[in-house]
């Protein structure tokens, strides 16, 4: 008994809610289902908070740091004695932290959606899917082994697909859902192969054994295996990272995330800002000891992919007009930060600063990015458009949304003492210790972030008013309360003593603000904000002039560097023509022909032997005796 058995309820409650809401065919008012889902998640949320308080503060760290607890575990499929697939609950600092993040944001989104989705057809379906998603995500973070994680990983993918394609009558939503599913599924293929290679080498799926730093004997057998100049373990970890990169939308697998904004805005807040997209970060963090000790080269890849994505996405974000897309690219950029931070981290104590900073940023980012998305939803709700060209001067009409949005913008720009400042500062310090180039990239990105966020802010809330169809109004309380809660979290979560709670080796350490990094990073943030102020506070022609000056460069950025087009070219022109066509021909003519042939033969035989079943008992008896005799003869003479 560990006293944590109740944690199994945290994912199970949303599952039950999904089944209830999804399968009940009674004709209740839709609101009832919304309330059911919200109460269910509220319970999960409370349980998560209780778990976190119990784990971090009441039980506290032991002599060797925080313990790794497995309160519930059942063997589901036994493949061999050592290799089996279990289902269970694993509690350690990062999973407990994720519990809080997921249930908080999900709970807020549940409440918010009662207002946002009011009157939508499919309200009940929406809540069923939300519960399903939350269940899958919670199962993912609580997984005791990498295979359980994979199962829930796929469930997360499916529920995300369902939610992006929620407006399934809209072709663009359907296309976006398909795109998200296919891209992440493609990445998951890498993940699966990685799991297989890893388990082949180590003969285990268990995180407990994989991440143990004392017993590394399981890796010794794989040390000699190599493929194309890289060790099998490095391949495994790279492939696993590919899965993570797909879900976390790292370059070049990022193309699905901006399109996924077709889903309802609360979904974007939940899935595409705070939870699912950080699954990849969580995966790397979960496997961190393996990365660090067994595959440092793979970890280096993680750092560079993260760094590149963060800059790349920030640049694109500056040129977008769809407010949700700006936020989507901003999410990419911030997740890039987290990945980079993990990639540059060492293990143990101060060395593990990057790890801790990444988790810290994950936490704060979840709060302020969910806030930004929900704020954007509130705006869209008011003006019925996603395009910032249709907005302006909204601060008068929507005071709560305005203030909370401003707080979130300041937070993401790293203005002290808001939470984003602390977590970003730690990341920059970690990057500087590891590699000055990566530090430079992140430093620049910080400035760009402040600029594009305030471009967004000024264009929405300041500038001249547009002709609105009806006067914009503040959203109802049920939508603004989650905004306020999240704003509160964004402001104060920076003061959590993260370095004492969530660290690479589970032993806390002290951090201080590094002024040498903090001052320049705040400065560049402020510069970005000031630039945005000058360009966008009032409508002016300057931005237009600048874009025209930049010409091709601007166009390329606006078109997201044509990555989508490259993908389309590669798939439609190259793969479809030169790979798929011949394969399809072979399939249609050879394989289908063979199969149809089998079908015909089966059909004909079936018709021919119909006569055997004559209905005459004497025939049956004859067949019985004759059959027996044939068997006797063949067994006696042929063997």
């Amino acid at each position: 008994m560990t006293g944590f058995e109740y944690t199994v309820l945290i994912p199970l409650i949303p599952l039950v809610m999904f089944l209830l809401i999804g399968l009940l065919t009674v004709k209740w008012k839709p609101e009832v289902f919304g309330i059911m889902g919200t109460i269910g998640l509220g319970t999960s949320f409370l349980l998560s908070v209780v778990t976190a308080v119990n784990y971090f503060f009441i039980q506290g760290p032991g002599a060797g740091g925080f313990q790794c607890i497995t309160p519930v575990k059942v063997t589901w499929l036994r493949l061999t004695e050592s290799l089996h697939i279990d289902l269970g609950v694993l509690l350690d600092p990062i999973s407990v932290m994720m519990l809080v993040v997921i249930t908080t944001v999900s709970f807020m989104v549940h409440i918010y959606s009662m207002g946002y989705m009011k009157g939508e057809p499919g309200f009940q379906r929406f809540y069923a899917f939300l519960s399903l998603f939350t269940f899958s995500m919670l199962g993912l973070v609580l997984a005791t082994n990498i295979f359980q994680m994979y199962i829930f990983w796929e469930l997360v993918g499916v529920s995300s697909f369902l939610l992006i394609g929620f407006y399934y009558e809209k072709p663009s939503a359907v296309a976006a859902a398909k795109k998200a599913f296919i891209v992440t599924r493609f990445a998951d293929l890498g993940f699966l192969i990685g799991i297989l290679v890893l388990s082949f080498v180590t003969k285990t799926f268990d995180f407990d054994q994989l991440t143990s730093t004392t017993n590394t004997s399981i890796f010794t057998s794989g040390a000699s295996l190599s493929f194309m100049g890289m060790s099998a373990l490095s391949w495994a970890m790279l492939l696993i990272f590919m899965g993570g990169a797909g879900k976390s939308a790292m370059f070049p697998l990022h193309i699905w995330l901006p399109d996924a904004m077709e889903g309802p805005t609360p979904v974007s807040a939940l899935i595409h800002a705070a939870t699912m997209v950080v699954a990849g970060v969580y995966l790397v963090a979960r496997m961190f000891p393996v990365f660090h000790f067994q595959a440092p080269d793979a970890l280096e890849v993680v750092a560079w992919v993260g760094g590149f994505t963060s800059l790349f996405a920030a640049v694109i974000a500056m040129t977008q007009f769809d407010i949700k897309r700006v936020l989507a690219f901003s999410t990419l950029s911030q997740i890039g930060y987290m990945m980079l931070s993990l990639g540059v981290s060492g293990y143990g104590g101060e060395e593990g600063l990057g790890y801790m900073a990444s988790m810290f940023h994950l936490f704060t980012h979840a709060m302020f990015k969910a806030l930004l998305f929900l704020g954007a939803g509130s705006i869209i709700h008011a003006v019925h458009s996603n395009d910032m060209n249709d907005m302006g001067g909204l601060r008068k009409y929507m005071p709560v949304t305005h203030i909370t949005f401003l707080i979130a913008c300041l937070t993401i720009s790293g203005v002290p003492p808001l939470s984003g400042f602390f977590s970003k500062d730690e990341i920059l310090v970690a990057a500087l210790e590891h590699n000055p180039i990566l530090f430079g990239v992140e430093f620049l990105t910080a400035g760009l972030t402040a600029f594009y966020m305030f471009r967004l802010y000024f264009r929405i809330f300041w500038g001249t008013e547009r002709h609105y169809h009806h006067t914009p109004h503040e959203s109802p309380l049920v939508m603004t309360i989650p905004l306020m809660v999240l704003a509160f979290a964004s402001v104060f979560s920076g003061f959590l003593p993260f370095s004492e709670l969530v660290t690479s080796d589970k032993i806390g350490f002290e951090t201080e603000t590094h002024l040498m990094v903090a001052i320049p990073s705040v400065l560049i943030g402020v510069i970005g904000i000031v630039f945005a102020w000058f360009l966008y506070k009032k409508d002016s022609l300057v931005p237009k002039a600048i874009t025209e000056k930049l010409g091709v460069l601007y166009k390329a950025t606006y078109n997201k560097f044509y990555i989508d087009e490259i993908y389309l070219f590669m798939t439609k022109k190259v793969i479809f023509n030169y790979v798929s066509r011949p394969v399809a021909w072979f399939d249609r003519n050879v394989i289908d022909g063979f199969m149809v042939g089998i079908g015909r033969v089966t059909e004909k035989t079936s018709y021919r032997i119909k006569e055997m079943q004559s209905g005459q008992l004497q025939h049956y008896a004859f067949a019985f005796v004759a059959g027996t005799l044939v068997l006797v003869l063949s067994l006696l003479y042929f063997l």
Partner: protein, 475 residues
């Protein structure tokens, strides 16, 4: 004699008491209120089923003629559970006016056959086995001819009894040869003295033919389709699930325990039977339009799959067989339950009659679909796991080609299972079966089946539990 020993026979004794109880209840109840027997019999039977789950230590009675172990008790519990579900499903049919005066007969006959099956499973020598077999068979003929005024039902009864007489004759002939070769009818003695002489092989094949009749293996299966079609639908489900399950249990116990010495011979025999059974049954199932006949062939094909588990032999094979039958109980009774409800409500027995059922009765159609998916072995429903373990147990012995054939057959079977799904969901119908509401008992049974279809596959503890039981059984 220590009376406490009789706890080993608790299933048989309890069932006997239940049968007698129903008989007395029949006498005590007013002529006009015969339908009251249904809840009484159901209640008594549910109690018996429940008591059966009380665990008991393994042991033998009557000098080894009766053997009981946790595994055999588990098998009997599975059968009891299946019969309970069938009883729940038969309520609507029993309440029809033409059946009201024979309600108690139905229960007594069914319980009587069940007693026979339990004795079969627990038998420790060929005599008690044979008595059990006949007790299990003869009353079924009465059940098959239950709608005695309908010619098809009477025909089913007579066909069953005649073919069964033939098969029993051959089986007895075989047993006598084995007795002649080994000088004993006790399983333990035979197992020790058995060697692969032609006489033993001849006797063995005759034995397999007799059992093949019960499990309906090709070419001993011809009676199945006609009897299944003619018999009342609940009797058909009883035949296809309980009777077949019990025979499969007994067959595997005797093969593993008694004929282990001639494994080299019987593996070829079972191999051939498995291939023929799966393939030919599938070919016939392709072109059936009567749902009962269709399910008959489908159940023959399933029996072919069971043989794969039997080929796995030993602990793993036994586990796979028991696990599969457990799943098969829920799955097939789910399908039969829907067929029964539809028949009770509309009299429709043809697959084309199911056209458009989804529009009018979506829940029943969904349950039917799940059952069919489970029969076809599509994940994540339980049938997949059942087949999976059958195949692994055969593959574990190196029968890769057989597993391949089985997989091909499973694919063919998918075609005809999906045909019904297509009928229900896609095919248009001007006059679909109108919306109806099944009786509470029927709904209870369907919910049990639905739960079984999902849970037995996912709750891995069940498989592990059966494995522990069969480990105990073989050691």
């Amino acid at each position: 004699m220590n009376l406490g020993q009789f706890i080993l026979m608790r299933h048989e004794l309890l069932l006997t008491i239940a049968a007698v109880f129903v008989l007395i209840a029949e006498l005590a109840i007013n002529e006009k209120a015969k339908s009251k027997i249904i809840p009484i019999a159901l209640g008594v039977f549910a109690l018996v089923t429940l008591i059966g789950f009380i665990p008991a230590e393994p042991g033998v009675l009557f000098g080894g003629s009766f053997q009981s172990s946790p595994l055999t008790s588990f098998m009997k519990n599975v059968l009891n559970l299946a019969v309970l579900i069938i009883f729940l499903q038969s309520e609507g049919w029993l309440k029809k006016p033409e059946n009201l005066d024979k309600v108690s007969e139905y229960f007594i006959l069914t319980i009587a056959t069940l007693i026979g099956m339990n004795f079969m499973i627990s038998s420790g020598d060929f005599l008690s086995f044979y008595v059990g077999l006949e007790t299990a068979t003869i009353p079924i003929a009465g059940l098959a001819a239950f709608d005695k005024l309908k010619s098809r039902s009477a025909e089913a009864g007579i066909k069953l009894i005649l073919s069964s007489a033939l098969s029993s004759g051959i089986l007895l002939f075989g047993l006598s040869m084995i007795y002649g070769a080994t000088g004993s009818i006790y399983f333990t003695d035979i197992a020790q003295n058995l060697s692969a002489t032609p006489l033993v092989i001849l006797g063995f094949i005759f034995f397999v033919a007799g059992m093949g009749f019960k499990i309906s293996l090709v070419p001993f299966h011809f009676w199945t389709a006609d009897v299944y079609e003619g018999a009342p639908i609940t009797v058909t489900s009883y035949l296809s699930v309980v009777s077949k399950g019990a025979a499969a249990f007994t067959f595997s116990i005797i093969l593993f325990r008694v004929f282990n010495a001639v494994f080299d011979q019987w593996q070829h025999l079972i191999y051939v039977l498995a291939v023929m059974t799966m393939t030919i049954a599938n070919l016939f199932a392709l072109r059936q339009d009567n749902i009962k006949r269709f399910l008959a062939f489908s159940s023959i094909a399933q029996a072919g799959f069971i043989l794969l588990g039997i080929l796995g032999a030993g602990e793993l094979g036994m586990t796979a067989v028991v696990y599969f039958v457990l799943i098969y109980v829920f799955t097939n009774l789910g399908a039969f339950g829907v067929a029964t409800s539809v028949y009770n409500a509309s009299g429709i027995e043809t697959i084309s009659g199911y056209n458009g059922l989804y529009k009018t009765n979506p829940k029943l159609s969904l349950l039917m679909t799940l059952s069919l998916f489970s029969l076809a072995g599509i994940p994540p429903v339980a049938g997949f796991f059942g087949k999976f373990f059958l195949f692994t147990s055969a593959a574990g012995r190196g029968y890769y080609i057989l597993v391949l054939i089985a997989v091909l057959n499973a694919t063919i079977s998918l075609y005809y299972y999906l045909r019904i799904v297509k009928a229900m969901f896609i095919d248009q119908n001007d006059q679909p079966v109108p919306l109806f509401r099944s009786s509470p008992m029927m709904r209870a049974s369907l919910i049990i089946c639905l739960a079984g279809i999902f849970l037995v596959g996912f709750v891995s503890g069940i498989f592990e539990y059966i494995r522990d039981l069969s480990h105990l059984f073989f050691n």
